[in-house]
Each structure stands twice: as structure tokens, then as C-alpha cells.
Amino acid sequence: MIKQLFKIVWNRKKANFLIMMEVLISFLVVFLVMVSSIYFTDIYMYPLGYSYKDVWAVQIDTGAYNPEADKLKEQEIAKKIMQAAKDFPEVEALAGINVIPFDNNEWRTGFEFAGKSYSPAINYVTDELPEVLDIKLLEGRWFNKEDDAISETPVVINQALSRELYGSESAVGKVFESGLKSKKVYKVVGLVSDFRDDGELAELKSYMFQRNNLSSTDTEKMLLVDHFIIKLRPGTPAALEEKLVKTFTSIAKDWSFNIEALEDIRYKRMKSTLTPILTASIVAVFLMIMVALGLSGVLWQSVTQRIKEIGLRRAKGATQGKIYYQILGELLVITSIALFVGTIIVIQIPLLGFLNFVSIKVYVITLLISWAIIALLTVICGLYPSSIAANIPPAEALHYE
């Protein structure tokens, strides 16, 4: 019977071409929507690596860039501001940070290691960061006073970078050189699972923290703090923001300050990422509805053209069930051929170097889900025409004009 189904589908290839194209196009649309949905769902499931609850970010604007500015003096003022913030009873902890989480900003550093180039994201942070963002170390330790004594530059890296550099070996205690002219030597002092500063919907990347030692007078080791983050006691009112700005302005009259909750920054970031995805999904859903209606129409027309044949088959001993399953079976054969062609097309995408950020796991899951959706869609679209075909009385079908 299966051989017969293939034979009929093949012999009617011209008539079935339209259905096949509809199925193929729907598969490609579903695949593209699903690949982005599954990709974002997959990366959303990975740990963020920190907590943003009750954390505010303070951005310091020192005015126009002045290469002649006294860096040490500015640092002193920044430290005074941070101390003033710390003195507020609502503030539980405070840390200097170069790149604020969820902010659309990124710093990268580059170096060569074992003959390969690496360019992980880098963030210059102070010793108090784990208290503010509740960062858990998997191995080693965070930066502390011990680091003042070591000659290398202490860094804490994430698991992705550790795997890239050392494979399954422990990274803690190991050293590597920067690609900078100064040939800075980094020493890994700690390992975190991750620090996804671009948020839950951003791609996973290798990451490293470098210590920003505010008490150092060596401007090479110290980076001007122009951002810091504060952990507040739960339930702190928004009114504190105004008090903080007033206090900071009294210390540095020429500087301006912007305070924003990390939750709000995260919301904005999420919105800007999700809006195009949701728009594309809505368009895809409408497209699928149109495809489903079109497919039902084409199938219904195909059944109508074959009513006499259906009558003949009934006269020759086919039950209603056999007719029903034959029409559905033919549709599944057509769908399988279209899915086969569609799969060959989508396999070319990574082979040609597109969608490289999507992992093989996500690609395979997307393929399976897209197959299932299209098979389900075609079966649903085929149920009504098949049922019409099965329920036509044979005598009527044989004389259908």
C-alpha cells in the first residue's frame, strides 16, 4: 500500500507540486521563526551569573574628555562620592564597575594563547562586586588585598573562557599574557560560572574580570571609576535617588550623575531584543494561518478532482476508513518529500557560514520541532478534505460531474 501511495504521488507530481511548494515554504518560515525562538529560549535558560534585584547603577559624567586632567585627583573625588553613597543606611554594599550589566556597552581585550587568538569581554571591577551582585565563585577567590602584592594582574574568568584556554583543566593559578604592547601577565585567581552582562537573551561569551584597585597610585593598574553600582536594602523607596544625586553634586559640582535601577535597564534591554522577535513571530503566525487555509483549499480542490476515482475505489472494495487514510497517507508522502527538500535547504545554512551562533543542539531541536509542526499542520489541514472524500456515497461519487 505504501508503494502504491508513492506511485500515485509520483504519477501526480504535476498536481502535487503546488501542495509540495506550500508545505516547503511553510517549513522554511517555521524553521526560521523556530530557530530564533529556540535559540533565545535556550540561552535564556543559562544562568545569568549574578542578581540584579535592588541594585542601582550610578553613572558619573565628568564632562568633556580632557587628556590633561589629573587622573589621580579625579579618582579621589570619585572615591569620596562612593564613600558618601556608602554612608547612606539604605546602601548595603557598593562596587566600582566599568561595564554596567544590561547596558548596551561592551569592552573586549585580545591576546594569543597556545597559538590561538582570543578576544573575551572584559570588565574592570573593584573587590566588592560579589557582595553587590551576589556573584558565586565556582573555584578560587575574588580579588582582595592579597592581590596588591602579586606582580601579575589578577583576573577572574568565566567557565567559557576557562574551557577555551585550558579545556577540562582547572584555570585557577594559571597565567597568560595579554596581547598589549606592555605584555601584561594575567593570573587567574577565581572562576565564575558566567557573567552575562548583556542579559539573558544575549549570546554566551567568554568573559574576564580585571581588578580595578582604587587605592593604587599606579595609573596603569587603576582605571577611573565612572560607574558604580549599589546594593540597597529591600524596600528602599525611589526617593533615595534624589538624595543621592544631591549628595554627589555637593562633592563634585561640575559633574553630573544618572541613577537607574538595574531592573529598569534590564527591562529596556529585553524590550529592544524581544520586540523584533515578537513582531516576526506574529507575522509568522499569520503567515501560517494563511498557509493552512491555502493548503486546505488546495487539498479540497485535489479531492474534488478525484471524486470519481474515490467512487471507483469504494465500488472496488475500499472502506470509508481506507479512503480516509489513503488521502491522508498521500498528503503525508507529499509532506515528507517537501520536508526532505526543506531539510536539505536548511542544512546548507550553517554549511555556508550563516547562523553560526546557533549551536548544533539548537539546530537539531529546531529541525525536529519544525518537522513536527508542519506534519501536524498538514494532517490538520488534510483531515477535512479526507473526511469529505471518505463520506461521499459511492453511487454519488461515480456519477459526480
Binding site: R314, A315, K316, G317, T319, Q320, A395
Partner: protein, 220 residues
């Protein structure tokens, strides 16, 4: 073999009621070759549809091999059609997308037999109608007479005991009609019971009995 007892067939719509057959009493014995004659629209094809279990009577009893079958379900009726009855139609009803061989195999698809056995039986049926040279042709590549011979091969491939022919020579010229009729006579000589609807008096005269229908009633 086939017995129709006081059969009535009425087609109803919400507004109109059309009596297609009324008070039909007919018995077709095993090995008989009967023809049903009558003007167009008198109910001949309806009668054939009832005998072929393609339609159900509104009233009356229909017996096949002594069994009253009007109350049986679709699955049983389909099986009975498949095993016991062969159909030949005026317009051949061949599936244009299938080859001659595949067309002949259709009734066997609904039996539990292997594809090689199916092929063997189909080839034998085609040999019977003299079309072994055309098994891979498609219906559109055949003449009307050849198409009807394929239809006959398809009707006899399952070795049914009853053959129902609805104007089998209606679409053929006299020479081809003669050829088809000779085939039917031959099959009847091999003990196949045949009921044939026809307009053609000459063809009807070659059968053993003529039943006449007029306005849905049996008149002779």
C-alpha cells in the same frame, strides 16, 4: 444469487421527493446473464447500484447469496463488493494517473495479498482480455475499446461471482462493442453471473433474460 424483494428507492431533498424505483421484485440466479433495459432516467442504473451495494434501498429486502444485507455496515459491504462483485462502467472509470497494470490491481489492494501475487493475478486478467502488450501504458494512450477491456480485466481480477455492467458498450463503436460483448459472453460461459444495463437491443438479445424498467417500475 441476488434477490430483490419489493425494493423501493426514493431520493429526498428538503423540498422534493423523487421515486427512482418502486416495487421491484427480481431474482438473478447463479450463472445467469440478464440485461436491464429501459429509457434514460427510468432507474436502471439505480437498480444496478442497489445490486452492487453502492446504494441502499429505501424499502424492501436485498439478498445476496441468501443473506439480507441492507442492515450491514460499510466495512462488511465493502468486503462483499471486493470479494463477490465486479463492476464495469460505461465511462470505464480508469484512473488516468495509473498504468494499465496498476489500474487492474486496484481491487486487490483491498485484500490481504502480496504484491507479487497481485501482479500475477492482474497479468492473468489482462491476458484474459488480450491486453498483455499494454500493461505499462496509461489509459490516455489506449482506444475506447482497449480502455473498456482494461476495465473488464479490473472487474474480473478478483474472480468475483457477480459482474455488474452499466452500459459497457455505450461509449464504443459497434465493432468494439461487439468485442466487449464477446468478452462478457465468454465470462458468463465460465459461470460468472452478469447483470448488464443497456440501451442496445442487439446486445440485450445476446443475454439470457431481459428485464424492462419504465418510470421506476418493472414492466417485464
Amino acid at each position: 444469487m441476488i434477490k430483490l424483494d419489493n425494493i423501493e428507492k426514493v431520493y429526498r431533498t428538503s423540498r422534493v421527493e423523487t421515486v427512482a424505483l418502486m416495487n421491484i421484485n427480481l431474482e438473478v440466479k447463479e450463472g445467469e446473464f440478464i440485461s436491464i433495459m429501459g429509457p434514460s432516467g427510468c432507474g436502471k442504473s439505480t437498480l444496478l447500484n442497489l445490486m452492487g451495494l453502492l446504494d441502499a434501498p429505501t424499502k424492501g429486502q436485498l439478498l445476496i447469496n441468501g443473506k439480507e444485507i441492507t442492515s450491514y455496515k460499510d466495512k462488511y459491504l465493502a468486503n462483499l463488493r471486493n470479494q463477490e462483485i465486479g463492476f464495469i462502467f460505461q465511462s470505464f472509470h480508469l484512473v488516468n494517473d495509473l498504468s494499465v497494470l496498476d489500474n487492474v490491481e486496484i481491487p486487490l489492494l483491498y485484500r490481504k495479498i502480496s504484491s507479487s501475487q497481485r501482479r500475477q493475478m492482474a497479468l492473468k486478467a489482462l491476458e484474459h482480455v488480450g491486453l498483455t502488450a499494454r500493461i505499462y501504458h496509461f489509459p490516455s494512450q489506449l482506444s475506447g475499446g482497449q480502455q473498456q477491456r482494461v476495465a473488464i480485466a479490473r472487474a474480473i481480477v478478483g474472480r468475483p461471482k457477480i459482474l455488474l455492467a452499466d452500459e459497457p458498450t455505450g461509449n464504443l463503436d459497434s465493432k468494439m462493442g461487439e468485442e466487449v460483448m464477446n468478452l462478457l459472453v465468454g465470462l458468463n460461459e465460465e459461470k460468472t453471473t452478469i447483470v448488464m444495463v443497456t440501451h442496445d437491443k442487439r446486445m440485450a438479445e445476446r443475454t439470457k433474460r431481459i428485464v424492462r424498467i419504465f418510470d421506476g417500475r418493472q414492466v417485464g
